[in-house]
Point group: C2
Chain length 360, copies 2
């Protein structure tokens, strides 16, 4: 099985993924004070998590890094989970990096470097801050300004053959090759100053980049890089029950930002675990484990574990019905989206206070 | 037929090359005051030479560009011909660029960027100046410092498929792809400031880079780049009669620099057009067109056309025999190598006066 980080073919069976790609299954007790998605199994796997756990517990240096693709004017719930994990590591001692992949956006999304830069500053970075990233503790850089990253990409190019690239990515065209090698450069860049473990929170579709980078590290042993660790969260499923929210089904996907009214409308149309009739549901309870609204509670809308458990139980036992439950979800979604927009505005006003690496 | 610019498979039949790659045959009357290798058919082909001719005659802006690969501590007679052509265009109005391919050297030749930089400054650039490049009229830059070139490479990556790359280069591995796309960036870089025709003097083995760059230009039409022109010189043949001097046959190749005594020894062992016996040679004359020593006169050791013609005639008619002729060649080679070393020393002392582009 090959996962294509640029494609739309998706993978559903998380257990199978763990096995096939040799991932570690994620156990919430690995890290102190796990965050919501860690506790609830939404974070489901990783690579080399032990060393990160050790860094946290022994207060040793490590870094967390994520990239922003500054095209478009929407992000999605997958980004929210990345930020939640970043925030977790940031709060637990990680030197935190956000790179703006303006070079990649310019190369693959048809925006100019200037547009990409503008979008990052006006939307993507404020959005990440609105989702919980601490701007004071985050180091930002623009990929296009970072010669060291480009040099690393160049250097790494000779460490990988075309066939190996194809084996990892399923295909290989020049643009993907350059982009992937640059990403490997980004992932290892924080180690240029000082070798240290690092963790990259990603969706499972980004795992090929992790494998490439880890392969490269093993081939430049003399450089002494730590192989980057990674941590994977599940997709936020499509509201119609599909594996992943997708732009191709706009009624089943909620973007960030989204007009709260439209978002609520989408939620009320979501696939639930409801039975054919009210009578039946009161009697049998819902099939909550199949309910997309419950999934939204679990991943995004209900912070408190006890409250979530109660909702599950109430739903299973028919004590709460879909109408009421959806109304609650809509109210929470509205509140979340409004807060998101407000926080984003605030972050936008302070954008000139961010710490960008200045390259000479 | 595919020519591999990284390989050692060589091509002998220049007429066939012209036909197969759709080159223009070079005619010495195209340019005013053609240089020695142009007049003598050592320069044998080009692409889009008409526009360069027009620029020269109408005093319009154009550029000439070449790259230095700063690995090793030797260059060869092929580099000498590149410099002769560069010098020609420089003297005829071209804005002249020399890029130091330190990034490529670091990626493919196992030197660090620092070493590559040092070697360029201590050897390769002084050698180019010793061969006739006017340092005052030349703009230099280090590839590794030139973000614009890297950005262009990135942008161009999406304009070419893997199969197209393979069709041009015969093979495609990630390192070659990055290197070739960066070269395309270098070739077009002078046009970022202002669109204008440009000419790249190269050996025929570098033609794939020209085709790639020209293909890319035709695919980014909206950018308005001029397709780069190119001009090709023949190889300096191996002294044993092979197509090209090669490191694998050190006794048949003269490097720059080379100990004059050793160079002369190599020359005296060269394959000539001499006959089996002195008697025969005096009677029949030599087969001068097969003589490697004469080829060295033609390409490198005898500036004056009349003198060259006389030597050819004398040789053909048996009026000069191989011993005397080789002695003359050796004396000229010695003089050339000594002058080269002296000029290089001089250039080295003035290295801090060069105009390097300073990137912010």
């Amino acid at each position: 099985m090959i996962i294509d980080p640029w494609g739309s073919e998706l993978v559903a069976d998380y257990q199978r993924i763990i096995k096939e790609f040799g991932l570690e299954e994620f156990k919430a007790d690995l890290f102190p004070e796990p965050n919501t998605i860690m506790r609830r199994g939404v974070v489901f796997a990783g690579r080399d998590l032990g060393i990160i756990s050790k860094c946290i517990k022994e207060k040793k240096k490590f870094y967390a890094l994520s990239g922003i693709m500054p095209s478009g004017d929407k992000i999605h719930f997958g980004n929210k989970m990345v930020v939640e994990n970043l925030k977790y590591f940031q709060e637990h001692g990680a030197k935190t990096y956000i790179l703006v992949a303006d070079l990649e956006a310019a190369a693959t999304r048809g925006v100019t470097l200037e547009e990409a830069r503008k979008r990052a500053l006006e939307f993507h970075i404020p959005a990440y801050i609105a989702l919980g990233l601490d701007p004071k503790k985050t180091i930002f850089y623009f990929q296009s300004e970072n010669k060291d990253v480009m040099h690393l990409g160049y250097e790494f190019a000779k460490k990988i053959t075309l066939n190996e690239f194809k084996a990892i990515y399923g295909s290989a065209d020049p643009s993907r090759i350059m982009s992937a090698l640059t990403q490997a450069g980004d992932i290892l860049y924080p180690q240029l100053e000082e070798r240290m473990p690092g963790i990259i929170p990603v969706g499972i579709d980004q795992d090929p980049h992790m494998r490439l980078t880890r392969d490269i590290v093993s081939r430049v042993k003399s450089k002494g890089f730590f192989a980057p660790s990674s941590i994977y969260h599940k997709y936020t499923p499509s509201l119609d029950g599909g594996l992943k929210m997708s732009k191709s089904k706009p009624m089943s996907a909620i973007d960030l930002p989204e007009d709260p009214q439209i978002a609520c409308k989408k939620l009320t149309r979501a696939l639930t675990g409801g039975r054919a009739t009210l009578e039946e549901q009161k009697k049998l309870g819902a099939e909550t484990e199949k309910c997309m609204v419950f999934e939204m509670y679990k991943q995004h809308l209900m912070e408190n574990d006890k409250e979530l458990q109660k909702r599950f139980d109430d739903s299973k036992k028919g004590r709460i019905l879909c109408g009421e439950c959806k109304q609650d979800a809509s109210a929470r979604m509205k509140e979340f989206l409004e807060k998101f927009s407000k926080e984003m505005e605030k972050a936008r006003k302070n954008i000139d206070k961010l710490k960008f690496i200045e390259f000479k």
